[in-house]
Structures are given as C-alpha cells and as structure tokens.
Amino acid sequence: MSSLGNNKYGNRSWPRSLTLGVFLLFLSIGVGGLSPTPAGAEPDLRQELEGLKAQLERDRTQMEQDRQRIEQLERQFQSVETKSEEKNKALEEKITKQALDQPTFGQYLDRFAGEHRLSIAGYGFSGFDWQERANTNTFSAGFEPIFLYRLSDRLLFEGDLELKLEDTETSVDLEYAQVDYIVNDYLTVVAGKFLLPFGEFIERQHQVWINKLVSRPLPFREGDEGGLLPFSELGAQVRGAIPLGYGEGTRAEYSLYMTNGPRFASDERGAFFEANNTDQNRAKGYGARIGVDLLPYDAGMGRLRLGASTFDGQWSSHNKLWFTSWGLDAVYQNGPLALRGEYLQTRRAMPTSIPDDKGEGWYIQAAYLLQAVPVPYLNHTELIVRYSGQNQNALTADALAEGFLRNPRLVAFGLDYWIAPSVVWKLEYDRDLPAKARDSNALLTQFAVGF
C-alpha cells in the first residue's frame, strides 16, 4: 500500500479508479449486450461448427472419390488409346504389307490397264530425204499413235492418229477408227474408218517399222503423192479365216466391205483420190480380198501367201460413172529371204466422148537378212531391192506442172540395220528409170520405231 500511498496522487486517486472500474463494468455489459454472440449462445456455434466440419469432411471424401474416379477414367482412356494405337499400327502394317505385296508400280498400272484394257501401240520415225527430181533436201519426222481398247474378248476398238509434218504446218489425220466384233470363229464385223484391204501394202506393209524401205512402191503412194488407190475408207466390213486343214498354218482368208466409195479431187482426168467422209453420192463402194496360205509350216518349204482384190464404186456425184480396180498380191518367205509382189489395174469411167482414165501399177521386192553371217552388226543387216512402176494415161495439168510422170519407174536399193524387231535404221538409194540425164537420184534415210 505504501507504494500506492507514495504515488503522487496516492491519497486522492482511489475514488477515481473506482469510477473507472464501474464505468468499465457497465461498458463491458453494454458491449456485451450489443455483441451478436452473447455469452449464452456458444453451444449452438459449436454445433454449427461441427456440422460444417462434417460437411467439409463429406465434401472432401466426395472430392477424393471423384479424383479416384477421374484417375480411373484416365487410366481407362489411356488403355483405350494405346489399344487403338496398337490397332492402328497393326492396320498400318497390314496396309504396308499389302502395298508391298503389289511389288511394282508397273504392276499396279497393269492392273489398271487390265481393268480398262487400253493399250497404246503405234510408231514414229525421223529421217532425212534428199531427192534430185523433187528438189527436196530436208529432215522429216512423224508420229502415229494407235489406241487399242479391248472391251471384251470379242470386241475391240482401234484408232490410229497420224501426225504429219507438212510443208509449213503439222496435220492430224484419222488414219483409221474402227470397231471390230468377233461374231464367231469365221466371221468378224468391222465398222468405221478402216485401211483398204486391197492387196498387202496398204493394210499390212505401209507402216514405217514394217516397210523395209523408206519410200513406198509407186502405185501405193498415198493421196496427192500420186498412187492409184485410196488408203482408207468409211464403211462396214466382214472378214475372217478358215483353216484349210491339210497342215499347220494353212488357211483361206477373206475381207468383204461396203464403203462410201471412191471420190476424186476433181472431174479432171488423172485427178487424185480424196477422202469421202460424207458420201457425195447415194452409190456405195464395194470391195473384197481373198487370200490363201498354201504351204504347211511343217513341210519346211517356206511360207507362200497369195491374194486377189477388187474395189469398185460410182465416183461421180451426178453421173453413174464407175471406178473399178483389181489386183493380185503374193508373198514368199523362206528363212532370211522375203519376196513380195503386187500388181493392180484401175479404170475410172469418164463421161461419153472422154476416154477412160486408166491406171496400172506393180512392184516386186526382194529382201535378204544377213543373219547367217557370224559377224556382229552384219547379222542384223538386211539388204533390199525393189522395182516399182506405174502407168497412167492421163495426169492433171497441176500434176504435170509439179513434175509427176505418166510412166514412172523406180529402182530402190535399201540397207536396213535392225536394232530390234521393230526398231530399224534404213538407208536407201533410189534411181528413177528410165533415167533422165540430171534428175534421177535420191538418197533417203530413216530411223523408225514401232511400239
């Protein structure tokens, strides 16, 4: 107490502290009365707290469960993923294996081509011509694709596009476009534009990789080059063969056809043939060829084929004037030797008072392959000689001016080097007979490929 009594305010301070204590008491009561949690509500609060705790606990377990569920789902998903990955991999492997099982792209193409059955054949050439008479000295080239579309074992479409370089431009000619239908063993029907089955040269020898010489026999020059027959005609044809039965390789063959018929560039005598794509008159042209292979292969006497042909039709658009023609052809082959020959006559009736326009032509050709010579290169070399001639009793004024002759004769000597059965390099020397003093020689060379 002394300390208190020693206080500067010692003796007089107690009633003040009493007042403060009472004030504080009241204040505390007052504040207590104001407080939301009066000292009496404490158990409720705890309960609530417990409730909240429990809720929190429930939420936590729920969350835990959810988390576990999610984890499980994730695991499942992953396993599905890996499974599908595995599956994909397996599938990929399968596909690669399948792809590898079709070893080449070429075979795939074959399969494609097989389904569609389209083959492209044809030929091309490049060459150089030096001709004294015609005064040519030029490079030349040509390309002729052939589209073969086999629709079934009986039905074939064949189309041949001839792409030619002319003096100053390139021309396209549809050489043939025909549908062939095999009706039975002995009869095939052909419709469209086809090569004239007259003799051998037009249908079977004029192709550059087949023709052993660069030039053509005089009567078989094409169109305005001066020959005696049209090369192709529009119409329908029946053809076929019958085995002769007395040995392998003997047969008789025939081709019978009806076409739009012959058409000439003008009514003038000596006029050249022209395409008759839309028939200029109601009359049709008719033709036929029969041929025989006489020697049995086993007899070992070589191969001999003979044929006879005709092609006739009214040519005039206003008169019933006929063009008629007939021809004979023969081939004999024995080993390295091949002999060929053809002869034909044509007659074009002219209006009364004008003499008929007559033509005659032939060629004989011998070829010998030096296959027996055991010298490299030489055994791929073939020697050829051909004599051809043509007689016409009339030529147009234009043709005469261009230097065509009424009775040309031509000897051609050829030297072929065969790189493959359908790849050849040809060299040819031509001499016109009867020789005129100056303008009778020609040198031709050609590289030809059949594919």
Partner: protein, 94 residues
C-alpha cells in the same frame, strides 16, 4: 421366186451348213494348255513373221497380249483356234 433370188437362197443355205459343220468340227476336242502352248510356238513361226519381224512374247505383258492378239487376229485374219494357241504361247513368256 425369181431365179437370182433362188440362187441367193441356195448360197445362203450352203454357207449356213458349212458354218455349222465347221463349228461341229472345231468343238470336237478341247486341247490342253500344253498342247495349245506347243501349237502356239509353232504357229508363231508360221504367222508372226509374215508381215513384219516376229515380235517376241516377252515384249508385252499378258493383258497387253490379249489386246494385241485381238488386233492381229482381225488385221491378219487369223483362224480362231490358231489365235487362241498363239495367245497361250505368247502370254506364257511373261
């Protein structure tokens, strides 16, 4: 019937009979694949070098030969049975 009509009728009947007889002959025996192959090889020598140098079987694949032989059958007027033997022979080398 006019005389020419009768003649035409006669010729037509004859052709028909001939065709039937020939078909009957052809149907007589079915050769085996080996027989066809051997015949084809021989006929290749007989026919395929007649117009151009003979082309060898290995130059084209089987499907191409089907098409090319159809082409040759028409162009060269090959007898049907010969064409079939040739096809078997030429296809075999690819």
């Amino acid at each position: 019937m006019r005389k020419s009509q009768r003649l035409g009728f006669g010729v037509a009947t004859l052709i028909l009979l001939l065709t039937v007889a020939l078909s009957a002959l052809a149907a007589e025996s079915e050769p085996t694949e080996t027989q066809l192959f051997l015949r084809g090889a021989k006929l290749w020598g007989a026919y395929c070098g007649q117009c151009h140098n003979a082309r060898s079987g290995s130059e084209f694949n089987r499907l191409e030969w089907d098409t090319l032989l159809l082409h040759m059958r028409v162009r060269a007027n090959l007898p049907a049975a010969d064409a079939e033997a040739l096809r078997v022979f030429l296809r075999s080398s690819h």
